[in-house]
Amino acid sequence: MTIEIDNLRISFGDKEVVKGVSFNVAKGASFGIVGESGSGKSTVLRAMAGLNNEWSGRIAFSGENAPLYRPPAFFRKVQMVFQDPYGSLHPRQTIDRILSELPLVHCMDNIDDRIAKVLSAVALPMSARFRYPHQLSGGQRQRVAIARALIAEPEVLLLDEPTSALDVSVQAEILNLLADLRVERNLTYVMVSHNLSVIAHLCTEVGVMIDGHMVEQVTAEDLRLGNVNHAHTRELRSLSVELEEPA
């Protein structure tokens, strides 16, 4: 599924937080958005997912303009994974119940099979199926969150800081899982993160946001080599590089 975003503007009340963002993502590609808190990166992602109706401009999936209010079929194609696995799973529902919500709403068949398949796709043991979220570790919970998105058999995954609440050791596992899933299922990713190295690892193209503007779009390769033009990109890059190099 190709994604086209054209001159997207989002305001909360009188305050404009996204001021004309445009970018394109090819089918099967992965696009990263970096920026500091308050730069509007998550707001862009939420508008794409249909979680925000106060936007203007153009959001198109496969060349088709997304309407302000999305039809149910849209959510079969586009799914979102949130930052905090502690906050995004219902604490009083078992994993089985959480995962069966979407298939029930969309009247899908073989729910039992689908859940078993999706659990094995994210490498969760079957024993996790009838547990509650608090009985799982942070990494396992994030796997459940990814499984919940995958059960819709989507073509696009929108990832909002999928690893920033996790330890680096668990982050590595989740990033590997996301990379594998993209190849296996030919998914298109749009990922938001404040961590440049995570973005560069998973994405081939990166957009840098500051104060509601996307000031630069570079390939991950150019970002690694330092072929960047905007001062903010350079600042973010040098901070990231400085930390990597030994003191």
Partner: protein
């Protein structure tokens, strides 16, 4: 030595039995910057909290030695602890959103911590608070002093927390993940600020973090914790060339901007490490 910990054990009594969390940690700290790194659940925060006796009732603490500047923490009374907490050892917590009182102005909170330790009139305390806010490099301290916590950014909130800790001139600063809720640019500023203040005032610093590269840049020494034990202790400058397989594993599984990896190596945990 400012802090001496020898063979510290911390565990929790529960309905279903006893759960050990820290299993024999030994550390010493003088007027230097010591970093404790490890994954969540490794016991790094518990160790710091035990030092201030800030653990819930059902916790069982045992140690051969747990001393702050020669005072035995285990046998210290609550009254004695109150002369240490805040006054002699400051504690900076992770998220300023949850650590500041949302219904009081920032100035009045900093002033309160000043008055609690130094006394004086309300007006003098407020002036002192504004001075402190200036010291942590807040540009318009008067304006920030009359603002409420929700009106300032995360980085500003963390500066305010640091200002509160500085009020009584502590000898030790314990910072528990002081920057993990902040952006990269702000994170660097806050750490630089902490570093400056620590070296200017000759304080000891205990920096707890899960971010290895960060700690290697800002500390003198680093203790790596895993599953309630200290795996190794080494000079911060040598952290990136550490030998222990756990430390190596943690370093390897981080994605890198300059040295791209096709696939991230995953940490395999060896039961041998815990023997």
């Amino acid at each position: 030595m400012l802090v001496e910990i020898k063979n510290l054990h911390i565990g929790f009594e529960s309905r279903t039995g006893f759960a050990p969390a820290v299993k024999g940690v030994s550390l010493t700290l003088g007027t230097e910057k010591l970093g404790i790194v490890g994954e969540s659940g490794s016991g790094k925060s518990l160790t710091a909290r035990a030092l201030m006796k800030l653990l819930p009732k059902q916790t069982r603490i045992e140690a051969d030695k747990l001393e702050f500047d020669g005072i035995d923490i285990l046998s210290a009374s609550e009254k004695q602890m109150r002369t240490i907490r805040g006054k002699r050892a400051g504690f900076i917590l992770q998220d300023p959103k949850y650590s500041l009182n949302p219904v009081k102005t920032i100035g009045s909170q900093v002033a309160e911590s000043w008055r609690a330790h130094k006394g004086g009139s309300k007006r003098a305390a407020l002036e002192a608070a504004i001075n402190l806010l200036e010291m942590v490099k807040i540009r318009d301290p008067r304006k920030v002093a009359s603002a409420y916590p929700h009106e300032v950014s995360g980085g500003m909130g963390q500066r305010v927390m640091i200002a509160m800790m500085l009020a009584p001139d502590p000898e030790l600063l314990i910072a528990d993940e002081p920057t993990s809720a902040l952006d990269a640019t702000v994170q660097a500023e806050i750490l630089r600020l902490i570093e400056e203040l620590v070296s200017e005032r000759g304080m000891g610093l205990l920096l707890i973090s899960h971010d290895l590269p960060l700690v290697s840049h800002f500390c003198d020494r680093v203790a790596v914790m895993y599953s309630g034990r200290v795996m190794e202790e080494l000079k911060a400058s040598e952290l990136l060339s550490a030998q222990h397989p756990y430390t190596r594993g943690l370093l390897n599984c981080m994605p890198s901007l300059i040295h791209p990896k096709e696939r991230l190596p995953v940490l395999t945990r060896d039961p041998e490490w815990l023997k």
